[in-house]
């Protein structure tokens, strides 16, 4: 009996050891980035230590007071919020239609949307670049290097995800509620705004936040489809490596700033992120 109890205790110790190790492993790179961002160039090459003894604020104040960097930050915010709003509204309409009407061919359309998410962005770089610079233009104005261009483009991967996620939520709202409202004389729009939207609000919020995070995090398209005006913070981060090369402290600071919004939202979406990433296939 004694050995059994020992075995059990060992199991618990092992379990905690494993998860403490995993937690450290998960946090370490991000913590280290923060540490690097707190040091000046000279301090970095001292004997390595994981402790933060002094805080070299210039790494943060430098980029933050730079007008170019401010514009990057502003663009990122503008693009991400714009895209998340657009995606959430479009997905709300689309999934309401998909869930409440039996439209011929709608199932195939629903399925087709996800293929947009599967396509490798690298394969779309060139055609989108060409379309944006050569085709979608009116006079001197083209979609290239505009926030609008990015907002539209991010729909390629955010809209399919949002539609798949919202479809499950929409299907979960009993159609009897619609019918009851309809009997009371409400029109379709009233039903959508007064019945569906309040009930789907948590789902809409999750869709919005996850789209926001994905759009904020996007790099590849932002780097190729902008040149000066619409650059986002992710491209700014990449520029640090190629242009200034050695200024690791500032790069780490910019990287830290760039992951802040995601960290803030993590608390809200922590339970839903897996649902979101599996297109609503896995729920908890």
């Amino acid at each position: 009996m004694k050995t059994a109890r020992w075995k059990k205790a060992l199991g618990w110790i092992g379990l905690y050891a494993l998860w403490i190790f995993l937690t450290l492993f998960t946090v370490l790179p991000i913590y280290w980035m923060f540490v690097v961002s707190s040091r000046s160039r000279v301090q970095l090459f001292d004997a390595p230590t994981l402790l933060i003894r002094s805080f070299y604020v210039q790494n943060y104040t430098g980029p933050l007071s730079d007008p170019v960097f401010q514009r990057y930050l502003w663009n990122s915010l503008y693009t991400a919020v714009g895209n998340a709003l657009l995606v959430t509204i479009l997905a709300l309409f689309a999934t309401y239609a998909l869930s409440r009407w039996r439209l011929p061919g709608a199932d195939n359309i629903f399925f087709w949307t996800i293929t947009n998410r599967m396509a490798p962005p690298a394969a779309f770089l060139l055609p989108i670049f060409l379309l944006y610079t050569q085709v979608f233009k009116i006079g001197d104005w083209s979609l290239f290097d505009t926030q609008l261009g990015l907002i539209l483009l991010y729909c390629v991967f955010n809209l399919p995800f949002a539609i798949w996620l919202m479809k499950g939520i929409m299907d979960g709202i009993p159609i009897e509620l619609d019918e009851a409202a309809s009997v009371d004389g409400a029109g379709q729009w009233t039903i959508l705004w007064r019945v569906i939207v309040p009930l789907a609000a948590p789902g809409l919020a999750i869709t919005f936040i996850l789209s926001l995070i994905f759009a904020w995090n996007e790099y590849l398209f932002a780097a190729t489809l902008t040149s000066v005006n619409a650059r986002t913070i992710t491209t700014g981060l990449a520029e640090f490596v190629t242009v200034t090369g050695t200024n690791w402290g500032q790069m780490a600071a910019v990287a830290t700033i760039s992951i802040l919004p995601a960290l803030v939202f993590l608390i809200f979406v922590q339970r839903y992120i897996v649902t979101g990433l599996t297109f609503g296939a896995v729920k908890e």
């Binding site: 199932d107 195939n108 629903f110 399925f111 996800i114 599996t278 297109f279 296939a281 896995v282 729920k283 908890e284």
Partner: protein
């Protein structure tokens, strides 16, 4: 509440069984034919065209194969 289902087409898959190992509808079979055609053309261009046989031969073969797949697959 925990729920886990595979990602799959919600479409009612009204297919039939031919000689292909899976149930397919017409669209699936056209798709399979096109995939095979592209793959075969690429391989042909790499390995057989340098020997002097035009890639059109491959195309003809693939169209025949494609028709067979769409009809019988």
């Amino acid at each position: 509440m925990t729920e886990a289902k595979p990602i799959q087409a919600p479409v009612e898959h009204k297919g039939r069984r031919g000689f292909l190992p899976i149930e397919t509808n017409t669209f699936d079979r056209v798709f399979i034919s096109v995939v095979i055609w592209i793959g075969a053309s690429l391989l042909w261009m790499r390995f057989i065209e340098p020997l002097g046989l035009s890639v059109w031969i491959c195309t003809v073969l693939c169209i025949i194969l494609g028709v067979w797949i769409v009809k019988k697959g």
